[in-house]
C-alpha cells in the first residue's frame, strides 16, 4: 500500500472555552491552507477479475492544479469515474469537498465541472442548445454571455450542429460546458486531445485564470509536457497504483541531473565506478548519457581525473524523471 499526500498535512489545535463551564475542547482540524478537495483512501476497483486500480491513496489540496499522469490503461479514467460515481469502488473511499463520492454524488456534481476524454455529445443538437441544456442543470439564469465569452476564446461557432463538428471542436464544446458555471473543482480527463497548439495555449490560460479565482483542477493526461507546463503537483500512476505524488518543483529539485559526457576514446561504463548512475546509455562507445542522483561533488571528483572531450550537466525533462520513477517502481 502506498500512502502519499500531495502536500504537508498540517494540523493545528484550536482551544475553545465553552460558556461558564470552562471546559476546554480540543479540536483538531486541518489548517485552512491545506484543505483537501479530493481525498482518496485505499481505493480499489476490479472489473470481475481484471484490475482497474489498486489501493490508491491520494489527496488534492484546494487551489492546486494536480496532474494525474500515467500511460493508457494505468487507471486514470477508472479513478475519475469513481469520483463521478459512474462506477462504484470495490473497496476504499473517495471524498470530494469532504463528501462521500458515492453517497453524496448529486451534491458534489453541482460544484464540479468535467471534461471526459471522449467528447461524445448529443449529435442531433446544436452546440448552443447543448450548452444551454448543460447550464440549465446548474442555474435558471441565462448563461448566454458566459457561453459566448468562452466560445470566443476557444474560437467555436456555437450555431453549428454537433454532428458537423470535428473532434477538436467537440472537445471545445466539452470544455465550455465544464466551465460555464465556474466550478469549484474541474476534473479533466485528457482534455487537450484534438486541440491545436494555439487553442491548447488559450485553454491553459483559461485554466490558470480559473485556478487563480479559486478553482481546483484535477488534470489527467499522458502528455508530460502539458502537465509540466500547467500543473503544480503531479501524481504518477501505473498499473493501477500510485507510484509517486510530488510537487513539480520538488520533483525537479530531487538532485536528479542529466549528465552527458563525451570521452575521447571508447570507454567501459563499469570501469568508471561512479555511484548514483541511473538509466545510463553509452552511444558509439564514447558518449555516456545518464541520470545522476548521487552527490554531484563525487561525480566531479571522479570525472576530473579523466580525459573528457565534453561534459553537459542539465536538468532532465519531466519525462525522464517520470520514466526514472517508473523504472524504480518496476524494480521494486
Amino acid at each position: 500500500m502506498i500512502q502519499i499526500c500531495s502536500g504537508p498535512e498540517k494540523q493545528h489545535t484550536v482551544k475553545l472555552q465553552e460558556g461558564a463551564s470552562g471546559i476546554l475542547m480540543m479540536l483538531k482540524r486541518p489548517a485552512p491552507d491545506t484543505m483537501n478537495i479530493i481525498e482518496i483512501q485505499n481505493l480499489s476497483k476490479y472489473y470481475r477479475r481484471s484490475r482497474g486500480i489498486e489501493d490508491i491513496t491520494l489527496n488534492v489540496r484546494q487551489g492546486d492544479i494536480f496532474g494525474f499522469i500515467g500511460p493508457n490503461g494505468a487507471g486514470k479514467s477508472t479513478t475519475i469515474r469513481i469520483l463521478l460515481n459512474l462506477i462504484f469502488p470495490t473497496s476504499g473511499t473517495a471524498r470530494i469537498f469532504g463528501m462521500d463520492a458515492v453517497r453524496d454524488s448529486r451534491a458534489i456534481r453541482g460544484r464540479i465541472g468535467f471534461v471526459p476524454s471522449d467528447a461524445n455529445l448529443y449529435d442531433r443538437m446544436k452546440v448552443t442548445e447543448f450548452l444551454h441544456y448543460s447550464a440549465a442543470f446548474y442555474t435558471r439564469d441565462d448563461r448566454s454571455d458566459r457561453i459566448n465569452e468562452l466560445a470566443k476564446i476557444l474560437e467555436l461557432d456555437i450555431e453549428r450542429k454537433i454532428h458537423e463538428l470535428s473532434s477538436g471542436n467537440k472537445k471545445k464544446v466539452s470544455i465550455i460546458q465544464s466551465l460555464i458555471h465556474h466550478p469549484e473543482l474541474l476534473i479533466l480527463d485528457e482534455p487537450t486531445v484534438g486541440l491545436d497548439p494555439l487553442i491548447q495555449s488559450r485553454f491553459f490560460n483559461l485554466l490558470r485564470e480559473e485556478n487563480g479565482s479559486g478553482t481546483t483542477i484535477f488534470f489527467s493526461s499522458h502528455v508530460l509536457s502539458e502537465v509540466q507546463a500547467l500543473c503544480k503537483t503531479v501524481g504518477i500512476v501505473r498499473n493501477g497504483k500510485i507510484i509517486k505524488v510530488e510537487e513539480i518543483a520538488t520533483l525537479r529539485k530531487k538532485q536528479l541531473k542529466k549528465i552527458t559526457a563525451v570521452f575521447p576514446e571508447e570507454t567501459d561504463l563499469k570501469s568508471l565506478g561512479i555511484r548514483g548512475i541511473e538509466s545510463a546509455e553509452l552511444t558509439s562507445g564514447r558518449t555516456l548519457i545518464f541520470l545522476f542522483s548521487g552527490d554531484i561533488n563525487d561525480l566531479i571528483g571522479i570525472i576530473s581525473g579523466m580525459q573528457i572531450e565534453n561534459l553537459i550537466i542539465e536538468e532532465p525533462p519531466l519525462e525522464e524523471i517520470f520514466l526514472h520513477f517508473y523504472a524504480d517502481h518496476k524494480e521494486q
Partner: protein, 269 residues
C-alpha cells in the same frame, strides 16, 4: 424527477413516438376499411374460411367464425397484431434504450457529471417512457374508435372496447417495465433493440401456439399475451381481476428491480 431531463427526453423521443403512432394508426384504419368488404362478401368469405383450420383462425385471434362479421370482433382480432404486438415492441425497445442510450452513446459521462442523481435520471426517463406508451395507446384507441364508428355494421358496445384498450395498455406497460429491467441488467453499453423485439416475438408465438393447442395450451400463460382476454363479443366479457393484478404487480416489481439495480450499476461507457 428532473424537469430539464424530462423535457430533453421528450424532444429526443418525439419523432419516434409520432412515427410509431402514425404507422399503427394507419394500419388500424386501413384494416378497418376492409371490414365493409368483409360484410359485402360475407358468404364467399364464410365458404373460404370453412377451408381454414379452426386452430389457425384461433391463432389469428378469431374465437368464432362469426366474430369476423362483427366490427368489434374484427377490430379485436387485428388489435392483437397492431397494438398488442407492435405496441409491446415499441414499449420495450423505448424503455430499454431510454436508459441504455446514454451509455452506448457515451453521453452518460456528461449527464452524470451534471447535478442530477441516478434516482432523478431513472424517474425522469421512466415517466417519459410511460407517458409515451400512454400517448401511443390513447391515440391508437381514439383512431380505433373512430374507425369502428365509421365502418361499423351496427351498434357495438363501448365497454368491451374500453376493457380491451385497458388490457392492451397494461400489456404494453408490462413489456415497457421488462425493457427497463433488461437495460438495468445489461452490463455492456450497446443497443438491445434486437433482444427486445426477439423477446416480445417469442412471447407472442408462445401465445399463438397455446391458442392452437386448445386445452393443452395452458403453457401459454407464461406469455403475457395470454393474460389479455380478447373475447370481446362474449356477453360476460369483463375485466378479470387476477389478470389486472398480475399485470400491475409484475410491472411494479420489474420497475422496482430496475431502479435498485440501476442505482448500483457501473455505467461503463
Amino acid at each position: 424527477m428532473n424537469r430539464i431531463l424530462f423535457h430533453m427526453e421528450m424532444r429526443r423521443n418525439a419523432r419516434s413516438l409520432i412515427l410509431w403512432s402514425l404507422i399503427i394508426c394507419a394500419l388500424i384504419f386501413f384494416t378497418m376499411t376492409f371490414f365493409r368488404s368483409v360484410l359485402q362478401y360475407q358468404q364467399q368469405i364464410m365458404d373460404m374460411i370453412k377451408l381454414v383450420p379452426a386452430a389457425a383462425l384461433k391463432a389469428r385471434g378469431f374465437g368464432n367464425l362469426e366474430d369476423i362479421f362483427s366490427g368489434l370482433g374484427f377490430y379485436a382480432a387485428n388489435n392483437i397484431v397492431y397494438m398488442e404486438l407492435l405496441g409491446s415492441i415499441f414499449a420495450m425497445v423505448l424503455c430499454a434504450n431510454i436508459l441504455l442510450k446514454e451509455e452506448y452513446g457515451k453521453t452518460a459521462e456528461f449527464l452524470m457529471s451534471w447535478p442530477v442523481g441516478r434516482k432523478e435520471i431513472f424517474l425522469s426517463k421512466l415517466t417519459l417512457a410511460f407517458l409515451n406508451i400512454f400517448l401511443l395507446n390513447l391515440v391508437t384507441a381514439l383512431v380505433g374508435l373512430v374507425s369502428l364508428e365509421l365502418f361499423k355494421s351496427g351498434a357495438f358496445r363501448i365497454k368491451p372496447y374500453l376493457i380491451l384498450t385497458l388490457y392492451t395498455f397494461l400489456l404494453n406497460l408490462l413489456f415497457g417495465a421488462c425493457g427497463l429491467l433488461v437495460a438495468a441488467l445489461h452490463k455492456r453499453a450497446r443497443p438491445v433493440s434486437s433482444f427486445c423485439v426477439g423477446l416480445v416475438m417469442v412471447c407472442y408465438f408462445l401465445y399463438t401456439i397455446s391458442r392452437i393447442s386448445g386445452v393443452k395450451g395452458d403453457f401459454g400463460y407464461v406469455s403475457p399475451f395470454k393474460w389479455v382476454s380478447i373475447d370481446v363479443l362474449k356477453p360476460d366479457y369483463r375485466v378479470e381481476v387476477w389478470s389486472i393484478l398480475l399485470f400491475c404487480a409484475l410491472t411494479m416489481i420489474m420497475i422496482l428491480a430496475s431502479f435498485v439495480i440501476y442505482r448500483k450499476k457501473d455505467i461503463l461507457t
